[in-house]
Every structure is written in structure tokens, then in C-alpha cells.
């Protein structure tokens, strides 16, 4: 401390303004940084609060929830809420149903979008650009516009009450994923394909043996986003599944909510259980979630 003071005192006069400027700027930066952290932490607390509140409420006994004012942290941990929810829900049965649907939806999305996008990215054929504009245009069509006639179609072919209406459409590609995959393919050099063609390989071989391994990151991205979509799909099952035995987690949770209107501890336990897979997937594969959002796709590598 003393040394510091003396060294400052010994400083030549002409340097002082410069140093003061530097010091004040540094102090300003420190203040800015403190404000940044304060805001970042504040926003984080606001965004995380609902999730903590959900978990805490799921562990409280009902008396503690309805007490006014409610406590934030649970005073007594009632773990039995979870056991009772799992049984009443019934959680594992619906989780199994959901997983079955999700598996096929992910498979359909990964295979079809990879396949279709290869055609758009690597093969030239007349009308390609027009057709690709059509792909992009379908993104602008509201789902509700096609929902009713699709339902009528599935009624006619007798698929209502089965998982087929939820699964089959995913095998025909979706605009956003075709776009994403195409971007990724465009970053792969054409010479590779030309070389393989000279060796006598056809496009089917090139796609399945060369392109699929090369585009793995994009395939994982599509797999993960479509897992998330299928796992959280509510509208599809609500429309097509009416047998309670076949319920998915989403409609299961909704009917559970209808039954136990304000039994918040059970409802929050149910909500937590349904969210866990998504949250885990997010923490382990955040990179792919972010890539799934990125419009420029794989162009940045």
C-alpha cells in the first residue's frame, strides 16, 4: 500500500493526465462489468425461478402450498408426491407410448430430410430451384390450414386411433430440416462426389456411404430437435389418440391436470417428470440445439 502511494507521488507531472484518464476508464470498465454481471444474474434468477418453483412445489405437502403467503423452499420434503404421481398418472406407461412414437418420428425425420436434401444440394435437375422455393413456401403455411382435411384423410384410411398419423408424415421431410440439411451439404466439396462417380458409384451409394457419415452433426441436430418436437407434441395425440391406454405423456398430463385441478404438488411432480428428459438432453447436447436454430446451418462448420 505504502509503496503504491509513493510510486504515485513520484510520478512525473506530465504523465498524470494520461494516467488519470486510463484509471478512470478502467474504473468505468469495472463498473460496467459489475452492472453486466448484476443484470445477467438478475435475468438468470427470473428465468430459472419458475423451474425451481416447480420442483419445490412438487415436494411440498398440500397444506404448505395453500398457506398464505406460500413458502419458497419446502419446509418438509414430501418425496411420496412423486411415487403417487407416477402411479396415478400412470407415468411409465405413457412414457413408453411416447418413446415408441418419438423413435419412429426421429427415424423418419433423419432419414427423409437427409435423403431429400441430398437431391436439392448435390444433383442438378430441371425445375430444382422452383421446387426448392416450394419447400421454403410450405414453411409459411399455417398447420391449422391443413389439419382438418388431414384429419378427414386419416379418418378415411382408418388411421384415427392409431399412431400412424403421428409417425408417417415425418417420413416425407419437413421444410426447415430440408433447408438445414441442404446448407450442410453445400459445405461439402463436390469433387468428392465426382471422384466417387468416376469410380462407378451411383447417387444412392454416395448418399448412404459417403454423405451420411460426413453429415453426422447435422443428422444429430435434426434427430435431437425432432425428438424434442415429438416428445412435446400435444396437438397430434390430442387429435388422433382417444384410447387412454395409448395416451402419450402430453395428453396424459393434460387429463391428469383435468382430474386433479389444484393438487399442485402432484401436478408439479408430473410436470417435472415430463420435462426431465428434455432438460437432460439439452444439457448434454446444447450444441446441437443451437445448431438447429442456426439459419446458416453448417456453413460455419
Amino acid at each position: 500500500m505504502i509503496e503504491n502511494v509513493t510510486s504515485e507521488a513520484e510520478e512525473p507531472a506530465k504523465v498524470i493526465p494520461n494516467k488519470q484518464h486510463f484509471k478512470s476508464r478502467k474504473r468505468q470498465q469495472k463498473i460496467n462489468r459489475a452492472i453486466s454481471y448484476l443484470l445477467l444474474i438478475g435475468v438468470s434468477i427470473v428465468l430459472l425461478a419458475p423451474l425451481f418453483w416447480m420442483v419445490f412445489t412438487s415436494l411440498k405437502p398440500m397444506e404448505e402450498i395453500v398457506r398464505f403467503p406460500p413458502s419458497f423452499f419446502p419446509e418438509t420434503l414430501q418425496w411420496s408426491n412423486y411415487a403417487e404421481t407416477i402411479e396415478a398418472f400412470p407415468f411409465f406407461k405413457y412414457a413408453g407410448n411416447t418413446l415408441l412414437i418419438t423413435f419412429f418420428v426421429v427415424l423418419g425425420n433423419v432419414v427423409s430430410n437427409s435423403f431429400i436434401a441430398y437431391g436439392f444440394a448435390k444433383i442438378s435437375f430441371p425445375g430444382k430451384n422452383l421446387l426448392f422455393s416450394l419447400v421454403l413456401a410450405t414453411m409459411m403455411i399455417p398447420g391449422f390450414v391443413t389439419m382438418i382435411p388431414q384429419y378427414i384423410l386419416f379418418t378415411r384410411v382408418g388411421w384415427v386411433g392409431t399412431y400412424l398419423p403421428l409417425i408417417v408424415p415425418s417420413f416425407f421431410g419437413s421444410a426447415f430440416n430440408i433447408f438445414l440439411m441442404r446448407q450442410f451439404y453445400l459445405s461439402i466439396n463436390d469433387e468428392l462426389i465426382e471422384a466417387a462417380q468416376i469410380d462407378g458409384a451411383n447417387h444412392l451409394f454416395i448418399w448412404s456411404r459417403l454423405m451420411v457419415p460426413l453429415t453426422k452433426p447435422a443428422l444429430i441436430t435434426i434427430g435431437i430437435t425432432s425428438f424434442n418436437g415429438a416428445w412435446n407434441d400435444f396437438l397430434g395425440p390430442l387429435l388422433y389418440i382417444h384410447d387412454e391406454e395409448m395416451y402419450t405423456l402430453q395428453i396424459g398430463l393434460q387429463s391428469f391436470q383435468n382430474q386433479s385441478t389444484t393438487q399442485w404438488n402432484y401436478l408439479m411432480a408430473g410436470a417435472t417428470l415430463v420435462m426431465i428428459p428434455t432438460v437432460l438432453l439439452f444439457f448434454f447436447a446444447q450444441k446441437y440445439f443451437i445448431q438447429g436454430m442456426d439459419l446458416t446451418g453448417g456453413t460455419k462448420g
Partner: protein, 311 residues
């Protein structure tokens, strides 16, 4: 020489023919899916909207009756349109502002940013019934967290989902929680802005607000445009939230959560008034198309496409 080039040309066109077949083969799933699940259904809807189709027995051509009924007799149609318009009008700008602010906050050179980014993004990947049930509890008038916190600062919170005046604000508030998706788009753009731009502006004495207004904002207008177009289409289709949070589509208190798609749903799958519902879907299509068109028309007035970015 001449013969050789002609031969070459012929060979090329043969290859082109082969390629065309391969190309069509690869994109055929899209074409088939488009015809079966989009074009076909939309044409059917178009025809169906002029009929009294009820899924089981009748499908008579009734001209513009469905549309006349919709515009002249169905008060709930106008109510649903008002509710949806209200929601879109607040949801779209608020989420855009929210996501820009969060992106600006994340675009700083401080340590631990990836942790904050994860936290900011997390709510956006959560969706579905679990989120709605969670927010029903958050917004519960007596035991919910929102009103508990309001009570701490001495404010008596509203009854949210039970008060017709507050049901839509409740949903808008809930939706603000998950702005992280659009935030990532903005963040990706912000991170491409050269830092020298900010540094030189700072040296020139531009305040943080001025730097945002004159450097950041113009650079992200293309993303704001994309965000506004897609989220207008998305917001216009609000359904699940209202369906779950009004306990199986009972429209909320005083029909305050009867959104357009919920009304269409009730007509189609509760009343089985399919012809009418298909007429509603055609009107929805026209509305969404016109909103997109208006957005595209307005874009040149405020969207800056910088010269530096080639893409």
C-alpha cells in the same frame, strides 16, 4: 475436333438426363408428401369450405353460406379474431424486444458467458403441457409465485387466468419466458459485428444507448424482420396454451381465451361442423398470407442489408 465436341455434348445431355432422374428420385418423398399432406388437403379444404360437410353423412354445395355465417352471424368468430389480434399485437413486439435485449446482454466480453447463455436458452426448449401446467400454478391467484412476489412489494396481483381482463396478459407473460430461441438468432448476428465499430464509437464519446441505436440495431434489422414474420405467423396460430390452460378448450372466462384456432377446433372436432371449420381455415390462410405480404412490403422501409455481408 468438331465431332468430338458434339459427342461430348451428347454424352453430357445423357448424363444430365440420368442426373435429372436421380434428382427426382431423391426429392420424390417431398413431392409425394407435399401432394398427399398439403396440396391435396388444401384443395379439399377449399372445396369443402363451400359445403356443409359434417364428416359422416352430408356434403352439399352451399355456396358462400359458411362465409356469410362467419362474418354476419357468428359473434364468436369476431371475438376469436379480436382475441387473436390482441395477442399477436402484444406478443410479437414484446418477444422481439425481449430477445434483442437478452442477446445484447449476452454479447459482452465477460467470463462465464456460456453458463448464462445456457440459462437464457433453457426455457425456450421447454414446451408442451408441462410448461402450461407449471404456469397455471405460477399464475394461481393465491398460491402462485407471481402473485407471491407481487405481494412482497405490496402489490395485490390480479386473478390472471380467472379474470377476463388478465387472461391474455397472463399468456403473453408466459410466452416472454421462452424468448431464448429468437435470442440465439440475434446473438449469432451480434457476434459477427466487428468490435472495432463499437470501440471507435466509444472513443468518439457515443453512449451505450447511442451505440445500440446506431450500430447494433441497423445491423440486426434483417433478423428482426425474419423474427417478426415467423413469429406473427406463429402467434396467429396460438392454440395449445389456450386449450390446456382453459381446461380442455372451454374458452376461458367470458370467452377471453377463445383464439381463432380454438374456435376452429371447436367447430371442427366438437361440433363436427367441418364445412364451416374449413371455411375458417381458408380465412386463416388468407389472413396469414396478407400479414406476411404486409411485412414484406414494409420491410424495405426499415430493414438494412449491410454491404459487408455477402450472404
Amino acid at each position: 475436333m468438331a465431332v468430338a465436341t458434339i459427342k461430348q455434348k451428347k454424352k453430357m445431355s445423357k448424363k444430365q438426363k440420368k442426373d435429372a432422374l436421380w434428382g427426382l428420385f431423391f426429392v420424390s418423398p417431398f413431392i409425394i408428401g407435399f401432394v398427399i399432406f398439403m396440396l391435396g388437403p388444401m384443395l379439399f379444404s377449399f372445396y369443402g369450405s363451400f359445403t356443409n360437410y359434417n364428416l359422416t353423412s352430408k356434403m352439399d354445395f352451399i355456396g358462400f353460406n359458411n362465409f356469410r355465417r362467419m362474418f354476419n352471424q357468428d359473434e364468436l368468430f369476431w371475438k376469436s379474431l379480436y382475441n387473436t389480434g390482441y395477442y399477436v399485437l402484444f406478443n410479437v413486439p414484446l418477444t422481439a424486444i425481449g430477445s434483442v435485449l437478452l442477446a445484447v446482454l449476452l454479447n459482452q466480453q465477460v467470463r462465464g458467458m456460456s453458463v448464462f447463455r445456457t440459462i437464457f436458452y433453457l426455457p425456450a426448449i421447454l414446451s408442451g403441457v408441462a410448461v402450461y401446467v407449471l404456469w397455471m400454478q405460477m399464475l394461481s391467484p393465491t398460491s402462485g409465485l407471481v402473485n407471491t412476489i407481487l405481494a412482497w412489494i405490496g402489490v395485490q396481483g390480479p386473478a390472471w387466468l380467472f379474470d377476463p381482463q388478465w387472461t391474455k396478459p397472463a399468456l403473453i407473460l408466459m410466452k416472454l419466458w421462452s424468448v431464448g430461441g429468437a435470442m440465439l438468432l440475434y446473438l449469432a448476428t451480434l457476434q459477427n459485428v466487428p468490435t472495432q465499430l463499437y470501440e471507435s464509437a466509444e472513443i468518439d464519446g457515443a453512449s451505450a444507448f447511442k451505440r445500440f441505436r446506431h450500430i447494433t440495431l441497423p445491423l440486426i434489422t434483417p433478423i428482426i424482420f425474419y423474427d417478426v414474420v415467423t413469429s406473427t405467423i406463429g402467434a396467429f396460430q396460438i392454440f395449445q396454451e389456450a386449450y390446456v390452460m382453459t381446461e380442455s378448450g372451454t374458452n376461458g372466462p367470458a370467452n377471453s381465451l377463445l383464439f381463432y384456432n380454438l374456435h376452429m377446433w371447436n367447430k371442427a372436432f366438437v361440433a363436427f361442423d367441418m364445412g364451416y371449420a374449413m371455411a375458417m381455415s381458408m380465412v386463416l390462410f388468407v389472413i396469414v398470407l396478407s400479414l406476411t405480404f404486409v411485412n414484406l412490403k414494409l420491410a424495405p422501409r426499415w430493414v438494412h442489408y449491410g454491404g459487408g455481408r455477402s450472404e
